[in-house]
């Protein structure tokens, strides 16, 4: 760990103030796990006290097996060029997360997207309800339980005369009388 002096110092300063689990992942990368209540305080601390003024990215991962969403906040310090990744998990049943667009304005865009794509609520979020989708009444589409193939079958109709040509390979075989090669059968998407 002696090679990661700067990284270890930041991690220690975070552990002194907050209850977190974390490790130095690699050169210039620190990864921490925190409770959702502490996330905004951690981000504010990193921004105001430690110089992590650039919000690189916010991401969301659906862990449907554990019934949780994972939110990842990635912040960057332009002076030391270190990156901190703050992970937190929220329940899928009550998807509510603290709004951080008062810390970084551009977080507003991410949060509006997550509200629409994952159905996560951010109390106090300003901005039009519809960001990308229009008149959407199904479950939020980036959730793992949303089946895009089934949605397409249910929503869109088949072109008249093509009802029996759903499986392209089969249709070609029937019309031309050619055999489907073995490799194509083996790697069929179904």
């Amino acid at each position: 760990m002696s090679n990661f002096k700067k990284e270890t110092k930041i991690l220690k300063s975070l552990k002194d103030v907050f209850e977190i689990k974390g490790s130095v992942k690699s050169d210039k990368r620190i990864s921490i796990k925190a409770d959702k209540k502490n996330v905004s305080s951690i981000l504010l601390f990193l921004k105001n006290q430690k110089g992590f003024i650039h919000l690189n990215h916010i991401s969301c991962v659906d862990w449907i097996e554990q019934n949780e969403f994972e939110l990842v906040y990635i912040v960057w310090n332009p002076k030391t060029r270190l990156t901190v990744m703050v992970h937190t998990r929220i329940k899928r049943d009550e998807p509510v997360m603290e709004n951080i667009d008062t810390i970084w304005d551009q977080a507003n865009t991410y949060e509006r997207e997550f509200r629409e794509m994952f159905g996560i609520e951010f109390p106090g979020l300003i901005g039009a309800k519809e960001f990308i989708l229009e008149d959407w009444d199904n479950i939020p589409p980036m959730r793992k339980d949303f089946n895009s193939q089934q949605y397409a079958i249910d929503t869109f109709s088949t072109r008249p005369g093509r009802e029996n040509a759903q499986n392209v390979r089969e249709a070609i075989q029937k019309r031309s009388g050619e055999e489907i090669p073995d490799f194509a059968k083996k790697y069929s998407r179904d």
């Binding site: 650039h54 990215h57 991401s59």
Partner: protein, 368 residues
């Protein structure tokens, strides 16, 4: 007495400011913008969702289509993220070829930008020239990868094919030709009084707020702040090549244009150096059967410098043969929404497209 009344104006979804469809809802008084609001949703193709249902290699056909003017940085970033998850080594020769391809991709995107930036100020000639010359770069791509725009060439473990015979010579000649042409371009654009007047003092990004607002790439370097992923966190062969990161003060469209002008010269120099130093050996570290290929569980955050600025991929694997999550952070995500909404008030309506071009907004990056 001039009666001034507030009016709402819808710019777009199709307008000369950007490649792709995006609407800017403007509240104007006279011809001055008071408030701007970005509206996206015209291009959503659910790429990130579709990638989750495909295996690690099939994703490449979708990835490069995230942003039309610049498909290569997407491939490279994703390939690097997968390599990071797997701990896969890349041969030295592949690193150099990847650097050359990335810089060629930068040059072709710069040439498109020349067309867009000059076209939105009424100078149509330059666009015809630069887009015409861009074809010489696309010829190089076609010889190398078999395709002109979407290449799917940089794969995990290296690149798909080695350089064909005679390609290096052709690349040198193309660079020589482009270098000569740049003088003509710059005389036509930067010595032009109309462009100078339109670009100077327009669309200013304040230096003290730039990093906090999430500004990256040429717009950031146009405020005098020197940050470039190629230097901050070098990847591929960039740490073995010499280049300068140009910066200009001012934060306006003019400064951003000057940064880009100088960056093309640097890209040409990088390509020449990489071609000179190109090592021998293998170009590909073979991956297993792609249909059965699983990537160890974990997460990766990888950044690359594109023409529009820093782009990143957050990739999560659960140990299966498909990615759990692939999330792109494009430069336009901040530039096209929150930064644009902040700098447009007070500007002239005629300058909106002009400013959009100088920020390098690419709407498909906002809605993936």
């Amino acid at each position: 007495m001039i009666r001034e009344q507030e009016t709402t104006l819808y710019l777009g979804p199709q307008h000369p400011g950007i490649t792709g469809n995006m609407m800017v809802k403007l509240k104007v008084k006279g011809d001055t913008v008071i408030k701007a609001e970005t509206h996206v949703g015209y291009l959503h193709r659910a790429f990130e969702k579709l990638i989750e249902n495909r295996n690690w290699l099939q994703s490449f056909t979708l990835l490069c289509r995230f942003c039309v003017p610049e498909p290569d940085p997407m491939e490279l970033t994703y390939a690097r993220a997968v390599e990071q998850l797997e701990g896969r080594e890349v041969p030295e020769r592949a690193k150099y070829i990847r650097t050359i391809v990335s810089e060629l991709a930068r040059i072709q995107s710069f040439l498109l930008w020349y067309g867009g930036q000059s076209g939105s100020s009424g100078l149509y000639t330059l666009g015809q020239w630069s887009v015409g010359d861009r074809n010489y770069i696309l010829d190089l791509f076609e010889d190398l990868t078999g395709a002109r725009i979407y290449h799917m060439y940089m794969w995990p473990g290296g690149v798909r094919r080695d350089l064909p015979e005679g390609w290096i010579d052709k690349a040198y000649k193309t660079m020589d030709y482009l270098e000569k042409r740049l003088t003509d371009y710059n005389q036509l654009l930067f010595d032009n009084a109309i462009f100078q007047k339109r670009a100077q003092g327009v669309g200013i990004i304040p230096k003290d707020k730039a990093i906090e607002w999430g500004v990256v790439g040429a717009p950031l370097r146009g405020t005098g702040i020197k940050h470039d992923v190629r230097i901050d966190e070098p990847y591929e062969a960039y740490d073995q090549l010499k280049f300068v990161v140009p910066t200009y003060e001012g934060g306006d469209v003019w400064a951003r244009a000057l940064v880009r002008r100088d960056e093309i010269k640097q890209s040409i120099s990088i390509i020449r150096q990489a071609l000179d130093k190109l090592p021998g050996g293998s170009y590909y570290n073979r991956i297993p059967n792609p249909m059965k290929w699983t990537v160890p569980a974990g997460e990766a955050w990888v950044k690359t410098e594109s023409v529009r600025g820093e782009i990143g991929f957050y990739v999560v694997s659960d140990g299966s043969n498909k990615p759990r999550r692939v999330h792109l952070k494009g430069a336009a995500y901040a530039h096209g929404v929150s930064v644009l909404e902040k700098i447009l008030p007070g500007q002239n309506i005629a300058d909106v497209s002009f400013i959009l071009n100088s920020l390098g907004v690419c709407p498909p990056e906002i809605e993936r």
